[in-house]
């Protein structure tokens, strides 16, 4: 079975072992990204949210994205994990880490993985607002400036 580089997590993401997996004597650069649940979105106050996924397809598509990034940017290794379930303000929703010889590759691959995960992986956000309403987010298009994580 090949190494798993993307998975969904139903409990809090623990960064330390993920980072440790990426340590490599050939690596001069390590870029990572954390998406945090923030207290507002598009002008509305947010109390918390829930992520749901089509698990089997999300994990296979996520795996393809990370493998594609290693190829495309020549990074040494990368890992991405995405939360599902209930999250509170400040919780980590997604983590991406990339090790590479040089910093440009690490930054580019990290950002690309995040963008692709946001646009291709079947995960949906259900936001709970300060006024008690809730909503499934089905964005019209992926706008890189639109969301935090």
């Amino acid at each position: 079975m090949p190494v798993q580089r993307f998975w969904l997590s139903s409990s809090a993401i623990d960064v330390a072992p993920l980072r440790a997996r990426l340590l490599d004597a050939r690596a001069g650069a390590f870029a990572s990204f954390e998406g945090w649940v923030r207290n507002h979105n598009e002008g509305r106050s947010v109390d918390g949210l829930r992520y749901e996924a089509y698990v089997v397809l999300a994990e296979s598509e996520g795996e393809r994205i990370v493998a594609e990034a290693l190829q495309r940017f020549g990074a040494i290794d990368a890992v991405c994990t995405h939360r599902i379930g209930n999250l509170a303000i400040g919780d980590m929703a997604v983590w991406v880490g990339v090790s590479a010889a040089h910093r440009g590759m690490a930054f580019d691959a990290c950002r690309w993985i995040l963008d692709e995960v946001k646009s291709r992986v079947p995960v949906w956000k259900h936001e709970r607002y300060g006024d008690g309403r809730t909503e499934w987010l089905h964005p019209r298009e992926t706008n890189p400036a639109d969301t935090g994580g």
């Binding site: 397809l57 598509e61 997604v94 079947p122 089905h138 994580g149």
Partner: protein
């Protein structure tokens, strides 16, 4: 006629009121199947904003409906 297993996620599941159902259809392709379900459940999303997966892999809306397959219509994703 084909009998398929349908999976619903996010707003589609809320509208359908179920996470999945077994459904018999005369639709010739997956696009027509979605439009049939849209009428049935009152989905607000037009087919232009939907992707489709068959048996756990992304597929195309113009593909035929295969008897016995598992079909998931994927509304716009919002992870991250």
């Amino acid at each position: 006629m084909a009998t398929v297993r349908l999976l619903y996620f996010a707003s589609l599941r809320d509208a359908a009121g179920v996470a999945g159902e077994t459904f018999e259809t005369a639709a010739t392709d997956l696009r027509a199947l979605y439009n049939e379900l849209r009428t049935r459940h009152g989905f607000s999303l037009p087919v232009e904003r939907i992707r489709v997966a068959v048996d756990g892999a992304f597929s195309r809306l113009e593909d035929a409906v295969a008897d016995g397959s598992e079909v998931a219509f994927i509304p716009p994703v919002s992870g991250g």
